[in-house]
């Protein structure tokens, strides 16, 4: 049996940039590789990947494999699956990491089953067991009500990693690494599932995952009109507006605003939670916030266990004076 060695991350290029989660994977992959005393490699697919490969080396990789083909420009599940399987069989890593992204959620499970190798999804901590050398994989379960520590009984050990759970390294452009081009040998006839079009739901202003201040509304806002007030506040604070799953499911806000287990993961400096109960599933998307402020009429709401500051009361009465006072304070 061939020996599995090293750590391989599957990177993503989004809007001509290395995805934030890819930098985070490089950071945690570097730590794991160093603990094993082995090498960190990465795979990038698409076209014109070389500049991104150099950047990935500056962020911690020893070696970046690139696969270039116009058909790999967008995520196509069957083609990516074939390409990544080929790469993993060639590199034979001990550990394979991907981001818990729309790609990772689709690709990692299929790759795992294809290779008969267990995958642990949405991990928030990864470490090497010093005694056994195994990958310890920590992931939230039961909607975030509990956490579980797993190991895989198969090789390679595969995991997807939650956005913002890991920190990237400082960029170091003097780091040396190899860039190796691999022919993807794409077979277009293998493409059964076909991506035809990407539809963007534009949200004006700052993206929620980039905002330093977020104002998030829950079911208690009662309808789409209430979100205009949240927009006013977010606008004043140069932040963005987020929403819980019930809000998005009711059609009051677009999906791109959804924060939580099945939405986006955010980690702003300030998170103002308005009329939301703070279910574990929601908190899974914002527990990385530095400070949470809660406005809720139910003193028993879970959000008060997560918040640093709060007021108990009707948001409709609280928010207008809150906004007015913020406006006044910011003028000073």
């Amino acid at each position: 049996m061939t020996e599995h060695k090293g750590v391989l991350i599957i990177g993503e290029i989004i809007e001509e940039n290395l995805a934030a989660v890819t930098l985070e994977l490089l950071g945690c992959g570097r730590t794991l590789a160093d603990k094993l005393g082995e090498r960190l490699s990465g795979l990038l697919m698409g076209s014109d990947t070389r500049p991104h490969a150099s950047k990935a080396i500056a962020y911690g990789a020893d070696k970046i494999y690139i696969m270039e083909d116009p058909l790999l420009e967008d995520y196509q599940s069957d083609l990516y699956l074939a390409a990544v399987e080929k790469m993993v069989r060639r590199v034979m890593p001990k550990i394979v990491l991907m981001g818990q992204t729309p790609m990772g959620r689709d690709l990692a499970p299929r790759l795992g089953f294809r290779m008969h190798a267990a995958v642990l999804m949405d991990c928030v901590e990864l470490d090497i067991d010093t005694q056994t050398g195994r990958l310890l994989q920590v992931r939230p379960v039961y909607g975030g009500n509990a956490r579980a520590v797993f190991t895989s009984e198969t090789r390679p050990q595969m995991a997807t990693v939650r956005s913002k759970a890991m920190s990237p390294l400082e960029r170091n452009s003097s780091r040396k690494g190899d860039i190796i081009e691999i022919k993807p040998e794409i077979d277009p006839s293998a493409m059964r599932t076909k991506l035809l079009e990407k539809v963007k739901e534009e949200v004006a202003g700052i993206k929620i995952e980039d905002a330093a201040i977020l104002v998030t509304g829950g079911r208690g806002i009662g309808g789409p009109e209430g979100f205009e007030q949240l927009e006013d506040l977010a606008g004043l604070l140069k932040g963005a507006v987020g929403a819980t799953r019930p809000v998005v499911d009711s059609g009051w806000c677009p999906t791109s605003r959804q924060i939580g287990l099945t939405g986006k993961v955010v980690a702003p400096d300030l998170y103002i939670a308005v009329a939301l109960s703070g279910s574990s599933q929601h908190m899974a998307g914002c527990s990385g916030a530095k400070h949470i402020v809660a406005i809720n009429s139910d003193p028993q709401a879970n959000i008060f266990r997560e918040a640093s500051f709060g007021i108990v009361g009707d948001w409709k009465k609280a928010l207008p004076s809150f906004i007015e006072k913020v406006r006044e304070l910011l003028k000073e």
Partner: protein, 266 residues
């Protein structure tokens, strides 16, 4: 059209966080018995996706579930909203598995069912939140798949799916037979009506044991696991919330801004 929907009976994920208790020895999580189990939310949405196709195009829906100790009223909801058949893989040896043993058992059952155009699963079970089983079934049956669907339609033999992705969605085409995992954006499962309850009363679930689906005993339940669960614990919360008071809510809100300013957060 032949549609199969995979459903999982789980602990109610909407139960208050405090009500969960963990048995550290057994690495198992519990809710008090008065909180009834539910069909996993995302699986309900998957069932809704199948019902909508049936509404428009006609066909037959088989609901399939694996587990042990099914609560009849809970799982028969599938029949009450319009599924035509309910197959339960129910046996103690199905217990204690992971995504690998679950996908294997479900795939073997689907082989036995034989006829299918589309298999629907939830995007993930709302208890372990992995999102592996759907892809696993597709891989084991050699089917193409689309994950995270928020809209599903079919023309001729091609399924068009709107797939949730970051800042919008993707339009994906896939031929039948295929497997589709469904996301909450598709919409909630329709309400149970009295007529449906009466209909469900007349349909007896089919129960299959491991031998009925020809399952390899070493690949089901805890024996079929590829992962080991070492520890299950509740994350510790250290935050102490400072409740800001005032004469009324409006004044409390003003005091809150002042406190945030003091803490250099505004």
């Amino acid at each position: 059209m032949e549609l199969i929907v995979c459903l999982k009976q789980i602990l109610d994920p909407e139960a208050p966080p405090d009500s969960y208790t963990i048995d550290q020895e057994a690495n198992r999580i519990f809710l008090p018995p008065e909180i009834a189990p539910v069909i996993s939310t995302f699986d309900e949405t998957a069932l809704e996706a199948a019902l909508r196709l049936k509404d428009t195009h006609g066909g037959r829906i088989t609901a399939l579930s694996m587990g042990n100790k099914f609560v009849s009223d809970v799982i028969k909801k599938a029949l009450a909203v319009g599924a035509d058949e309910l197959i339960l893989l129910e046996d103690v040896s199905f217990e204690g598995g992971d995504a690998w043993s679950t996908a294997y058992a479900l795939a073997e059952a689907i082989k036995k069912i034989g006829r299918y155009d589309i298999i629907f699963c939830g995007r993930q079970a709302a208890d372990w939140d992995s999102g592996l089983v759907g892809a696993g079934i597709a891989e084991l049956l050699g089917l193409p798949s689309v994950t995270l669907a928020k809209k599903v339609d079919i023309t001729d033999k091609t399924v068009t799916v709107e797939r949730v992705a970051g800042d919008g969605f993707e339009i994906v085409k896939v031929p039948i037979p295929c497997l589709i995992t469904v996301s909450n954006e598709l919409g909630e499962l329709r309400l149970v009506r009295l007529k449906g309850v009466r209909r469900a009363e007349k349909i007896q679930p089919t129960v299959w044991k491991p031998e009925d689906i020809g399952a390899d005993p070493s690949r089901i339940g805890s024996r079929g696991r590829l992962t080991t669960l070492h520890k299950l614990f509740k994350p510790v919360k250290e935050t102490q919330c400072e409740i800001i008071e005032g004469e009324d809510v409006a004044e409390a809100a003003v005091n809150l801004t002042l406190r945030l300013r003091e803490a250099k957060l505004l």
